[in-house]
Symmetry: C2
Subunit: 362 residues, 2 copies
């Protein structure tokens, strides 16, 4: 944990927020920053970055290019990131020049499923049972204690179901380890959950904490299909979920928006699945359901501004537009609450946009 | 009137909307276009243009520079404008290369108070009584019929109370004509109104029409201070105001968002004050009170997309942040529904931002 010393002053309108990563999250962060009168500088290693189109300035360079990073840092008043696979050395390097939030520690933890789950257990939070796996033999040995069904997941770089295999025997576990490239992994007990929810929370420079109502999240082929708010979770569980997110944010001395993915099981209650040190797909509904969206909230925290009220003015259902569905844009164009990310290339499973349907609070 | 021949196809996400003018209206149009996956190209003759910071591409050049305009047009799939003082020849020139909405005719009419009020009367709509004034003598002669109190207004280039003088005698009217530069003007009967409202309406390529609930508008020093929705206008007057806006939009074969400024007098009812062929300050509340804002609605019309539902999810009060008030940004930063335009220079009377407070529908 890097303790912060002294609270930085809020940065004034007209300043520049640097954003590492140029995908849709970076794009929506840039649009939110603009609303508050802040300029943006998007840094991405991909030439086709949809956040470039809305940024004040752009840099296309590698996240390892120290010279370009230093140049970027000097042109920004604060820097944040839109995805958790920014190398943590990149963030540490930037911190020599400019304020960066959230810091490198949440990033380091969220990048590695083993560190992440170990951290959560240290905080006294429930997770699925898991074992570190660095060899076929370890995969085989770990299996029997996990109840007959388990998931092998690479420690790093997994998302949307990539880098994981469900296995039903010790032999399958060993084989999955080889198939996923023999890289450091965890073997996790399979959780039979009733439903999946997430808390999108924010912590500000002054330790203020604010959380949006949790959404009920539905996945298809491991990709988020739909988030519904309210989730139907009973109020005491909502409060429990908020408390979990709050303790995580405090333990990480976190600044910014944080997504906490939770399983609700019939028997043991709330289990933390994973944490995302960034704005999160399951919080996109806040753009249309709240006055202060998760994107604005993140920018507020990063800029040292007071957090906004996360109150919801409407019930909301957010649906993702995935892959070739974007080709139906003429039909989608009639939707209110429509957000299209402006990605040039359609790929299967690629998130191309979303739309949120709101209705009066019930 | 330039009749349109054939409906253009809606332009796909990834296309570029050109915006003439780089102020806050252009900025909020660009942000709305981005939400729909459209790129933007802002063309402005001022180097300090706050819309530049959020546009995909920018051109700084004169509105008379035909070469730069043609170059701009070739890079855009549709063009619109954010202020009514774009020379109408500029728009006519662009139309040779690219689709432009609204067209030059609404612009020509809205640029000239005499043409505007004559057009309104031709549509059978009530306005204040007015006379064309091109000399001191005409100013003197026009005065007596106007009830003892009148306002001399230049025909062109007035806004926020600029280019006008209230006068109480024929002699004052003649003097005002000289003081305002001896330019073509109108002398208008002073209207004693109970309150001022506006209809923000949109007409799409297919003739569809959609109007937001009218706001009650309060001015200070001729500058909009506050818009409140609902306005308190009785339902039959709301419908009458919508019908007026609809007939104006139809008569102009209008494509895009149109602001219609109305006076409500105790005796004669609704009177049209002026029309703005663009998004309008009194519609800023729609950013936080509706799912589809006036800015998105305008972009939808310009891009040939279906209009969005102008339904309001909340009651709303929008307040402008004017001039030096922007220096209080640290206090304002706590506001939800805050929009800061990112203008570098504060000037008295300059619109620097706004904030909208929403509350549940009553």
């Amino acid at each position: 944990m890097t303790p912060r010393t002294g609270k930085p002053e809020p940065i004034p309108p007209g300043s520049t927020i640097g954003i590492l990563g140029g995908g849709q999250l970076g794009r929506m962060l840039a649009l939110a920053a603009a609303r508050l009168g802040l300029k943006t500088h998007v840094y991405s290693d991909e030439s086709e970055s949809c956040a470039f189109y809305v940024a004040t300035e752009t840099t296309r360079a590698s996240f390892r290019d120290q010279a370009r990073l230093a140049q970027f840092a000097r042109r920004c008043n604060a820097v944040t990131f839109e995805f958790e696979n920014v190398p943590d050395e990149t963030v540490r390097g930037l911190m020599q020049h400019v304020r960066v939030a959230p810091g490198p520690e949440p990033l380091r933890i969220a990048q590695d499923r083993f560190l992440e789950k170990s951290f959560l257990q240290q905080q006294g939070l429930l997770t699925a049972p898991f074992h570190n796996v660095t060899s076929e033999a370890q995969a085989r040995e770990a299996f029997p204690a996990l109840g007959g069904r388990a998931v092998l997941k690479t420690r790093r770089l997994g998302y949307d179901g990539k880098g994981q295999r469900t296995v039903k025997s010790a032999e399958e576990a060993a084989r999955a380890f080889v198939e996923l490239g023999g890289v450091p992994s965890i073997l996790e007990g399979f959780v039979e959950f009733a439903f999946e929810t997430s808390v999108i929370a924010a912590r500000g420079e002054n330790g203020a904490f604010a959380a949006y109502d949790p959404a009920l999240n539905e996945h298809e082929h491991h990709i988020l299909r739909r988030s519904t708010v309210p989730s139907g979770l009973p109020e005491n569980k909502v409060q429990e979920a908020f408390a979990m997110a709050h303790s995580i944010a405090e333990a990480l001395n976190y600044i910014g928006v944080l997504g906490v993915d939770l399983f609700i099981t019939r028997d043991i209650g709330l289990l933390v699945n994973e944490i995302a040190p960034r704005v999160h797909n399951s919080g996109h509904w806040t753009l249309d359901g709240c006055t202060v969206s998760q994107f604005e909230q993140h920018i507020r925290a990063v800029a040292g501004w007071p957090l906004g009220d996360p109150v919801r003015h409407s019930d909301a259902v957010m649906q993702n537009i995935i892959g070739a569905e974007a080709e139906g844009w003429k039909q989608l164009a009639g939707q209110a609450g429509l957000h299209i990310y402006g990605k040039r290339v359609v790929r299967p499973g690629r998130k191309m946009g979303h739309f949120t349907t709101i209705s009066p609070l019930k």
